[in-house]
């Protein structure tokens, strides 16, 4: 009778975070991934300069995720007691890093796009006869 049931996973996460935070995070993730994909599509590839900048922010995001985890579990990383703890710490840090990198890449991509469009519009306006 054992079956995979994502509803259990969902129910526990909603209890853990409350529906508002849970759905805000889902929306943020969807926004981040969607925008990231859109930016790559519009720019026809990854901008390596922007990516490096975002990865640096991502490193800070990884540490932010670790801090958040330490805060909610009222503990610290000196409490790691075995390999699985280091694995978990790595996963949390990695999750924070990847999430922040994608979000910041998407945000910078959006910002750059808007600036670029604004410049085109301004250029159109200042074009002789425009």
């Amino acid at each position: 009778m054992k079956a995979l049931d994502p509803m259990v996973f969902y129910a526990v996460l909603v209890e853990m975070m409350g529906p508002w935070l849970f759905w805000s995070l889902i929306l943020l993730t969807a926004f981040g991934l969607g925008t990231f994909a859109w930016v790559i599509f519009r720019e026809k590839g990854l901008s390596s300069r922007r990516l490096v900048r975002c990865e640096l922010i991502g490193v800070a995001g990884g540490f932010g995720a670790l801090w958040l985890m330490a805060y909610v579990t009222v503990s610290g990383f000196t409490d790691a007691g075995g390999p699985v703890d280091w694995l978990l710490i790595g996963l949390i840090w990695g999750g924070g890093l990847v999430g922040t990198t994608i979000l910041s890449y998407a945000s910078f991509g959006l910002r750059d796009r808007f600036r670029w469009q604004k410049r085109i519009r301004t250029d159109e306006k200042t074009w002789p006869g425009g």
């Binding site: 009778m1 054992k2 995979l4 129910a11 526990v12």
Partner: protein
């Protein structure tokens, strides 16, 4: 009786000998959804994929704690048309595993308190009255307001009674004063215990810990508090000023031999002085002295802080009813006479006992409730539907045994004293780990609440 329970119960006896795959401990993975990728989505053992069973059965659930609410939620899902009634006078719901964190100074008392009304499933009627009489021969219960409630099926989930009167001189009103602690007595008592522990951690002296001789809920809790207090003393640089004594009721420290040995090693490492075969019988709160019954007579120990854990028994209403065991190890304290595999009463086939009140070996934890309730519900529903029940309870229970602030051991075991780790090779059961602490602090409560709602 209008149902074919008796016929079914004989079928169940045959089933019982088969070990049940569905009750596999690995299902427990879903208790920790944060940690185990897809495994965490393992669904419970309820056979709830099928259509709800149509019935007009009247089902009374005595007690709206962890087990009663979980049973109500599962029955409401699996039955269509049943009249389900919950009886419990208590308006607050206590998340009791959180008492440990409150008494460790990590959470406020409110962390453990919510409203029973929030978990009553739609369609289930709640009578906010206590049951004062069980009449299983007459298929009825009587409440403290004189209401008679008749049933076709009864689920008893009244939890247990903390028998403070079993310790001469013990007065719950004194908890928090004169170095007297008691983690078990409720959210405020847990908080008052924290104040007393904190005071002790500042001043040092003799800290006295132990457990009762009776069956008890969460047998790991007395041990956890020994470690937690030790850690608070160390963090404040006062461990050298304190002596910690653990009074064990018998020759072991935990009912599972391998865990007992591990705790002994950890106690040795932390400098905890173990006194075996010491059963607390009396305290003098003003003089701060505790009396223990030992094989060689009474022994008195003076203390600066004591964590009193009173004897635990079935609530009087169960103990004095025909539902209690009449002989054997569970008779003296009146635990309910149920089959340990099916949770069905051995003499009244339309009655089930789940949670702390059940007279089964071990298993007085919320984790046991998690695995007992689907079994009892499955057998009850199968009786109504005239089908063969599928589930058997193997005695699975678990305890995140905190060994210091920030680390715990995930101890999982069954009736046979086997360790049954949910994450073999990943989370070693006898290893002090942060990941287990993470589960205890953030994953356990939401999973427990989801269980009350019938969603986990």
């Amino acid at each position: 009786m209008t149902f074919s329970e008796r016929k079914e119960s004989s079928k169940e006896k045959n089933l019982q000998s088969n070990s049940c795959k569905d009750c596999s401990r690995r299902d427990f993975l879903k208790l920790f959804p944060l940690l185990a990728g897809t495994a965490l989505c393992m669904h419970a053992q309820q056979s709830e994929a099928s259509e709800p069973t149509k019935t007009k059965a009247r089902i009374v659930i005595a007690g709206a704690g962890a087990a009663g609410l979980a049973a109500a939620a599962q029955l409401a899902k699996r039955l269509d048309g049943a009249e389900i009634v919950l009886c419990d006078a208590r308006k607050e719901h206590y998340y009791q595993p959180g008492f440990t964190l409150v008494a460790a100074g990590l959470k406020p008392p409110g962390y453990t308190v919510s409203a029973t009304a929030d978990y009553i499933p739609p369609g289930v009627k709640w009578i906010p009255e206590s049951i004062v009489e069980f009449d299983p021969a007459g298929n009825r219960v009587v409440t403290d307001k004189g209401q008679i409630v008749r049933y076709d099926f009864l689920i008893v989930a009244t939890g247990l009674k903390l028998d403070f009167a079993g310790i001469t001189g013990m007065d719950p009103a004194l908890i928090g004063k004169n170095g007297l602690g008691c983690v078990y007595a409720g959210p405020d008592a847990a908080y008052a215990t924290w104040k007393a522990i904190s005071d002790f951690a500042d001043k040092g002296g003799v800290g006295l810990f132990g457990r009762p001789k009776t069956e008890m809920k969460c047998a790991g809790a007395p041990i956890k508090h020994t470690f937690i207090t030790d850690d608070h003393l160390r963090r404040r640089g006062n461990r050298g000023k304190a002596e910690i004594i653990y009074a064990a009721h018998n020759k072991t420290l935990f009912s599972i031999p391998i865990v007992s040995e591990k705790v002994r090693m950890l106690y040795e490492d932390r400098g905890v002085d173990i006194r075996h075969e010491h059963v607390l019988t009396a305290i003098d709160p003003a003089r701060r002295r505790a009396t223990f019954a030992t094989p060689t007579g009474n022994a008195e120990i003076g203390y600066d802080f004591i964590n009193v854990i009173p004897p635990m028994r079935a609530p009087d209403v169960v103990r004095k009813s025909p539902l209690a065991w009449r002989d054997g190890p569970f008779a003296a304290d009146g635990w309910m006479e149920v089959d340990k595999g099916t949770l069905r009463h051995k003499r009244f086939a339309n009655v089930f006992g789940v949670g702390d009140v059940a007279g089964v070996p071990k298993g007085k934890t919320a984790a046991s409730v998690k695995w007992q309730v689907p079994v009892a519900v499955d057998h009850l529903v199968a009786t109504i539907a005239g089908t063969t029940p599928e589930l058997i309870y193997t005695g699975y229970t678990s305890c995140p045994l905190i060994t210091r602030l920030g680390r715990a051991m995930l101890v999982e075991f069954d009736y046979k004293d086997n360790l049954v780790p949910s994450f073999p090779g990943v989370i070693a059961p006898l290893e002090e780990l942060w990941i287990t602490w993470v589960m205890k602090t953030i994953a356990l409560k939401p999973t427990y609440i989801a269980m009350l709602r019938g969603k986990a």
